[in-house]
Symmetry: C2
Subunit: 109 residues, 2 copies
């Protein structure tokens, strides 16, 4: 019996939390507001709120409040968050090379 690596397990647990990958993909393009992310991603406000809290707790996302009218709250990646870029990039490369248009269709069906 081959034991799993606990760190890998932890990392994979985070990355495999539903929507986390897409949120990282979005934030790697730059700072975003809550409503922007809600528009970019196929995720409801309830879960976006949950996931941003999780990622903030994990030190991957930071939250900045600007007291303007209307209030502006910006989310961005911390250094730890940015360090996930190679992971996301590797997934993108795999997707470019191995995900067929039909598979994309299937998903949307």
């Amino acid at each position: 019996m081959e034991k799993l690596c606990p760190r890998f397990e932890k990392a994979m647990g985070l990355l495999s939390t539903r929507w986390v990958g897409l949120i990282l993909f979005d934030l790697l393009k730059g700072t975003k507001r809550f409503s922007e992310m809600e528009a970019d991603l196929p995720i409801s406000g309830r879960l976006l709120s949950d996931r941003l809290k999780l990622l903030e707790k994990e030190g991957i996302v930071k939250r900045n409040i600007y007291s303007e009218f209307p209030v502006r709250i910006e989310y961005s990646l911390t250094e730890k968050g940015k360090s996930l870029e190679p992971v996301i990039k590797e997934i993108q490369d795999w997707a470019d090379n191995h995900v067929t248009p039909e598979e994309v269709e299937d998903q949307n069906a």
Copy 2:
């Protein structure tokens, strides 16, 4: 509004399916039988069965039956499955560099 890449979305949907990452990690070490994977991973037979069916359907895992006694069924990665190695490796690298022992504890608590 920045649109997501549909291929990335599809790839991430697969990779973020619970247990898929751990199954890939396990199978990258070589061919495995059902009961071995059940022992290696913190996953129940019901979901292991579901996930192997999913991965087989996606062309990532292949299933080989040997009609011995008792029946032996071996699971291994297809070429497409093996092509995910750089993704898993990148996650492992990130985990080695950014997951702290405390975080591993938290997860087990």
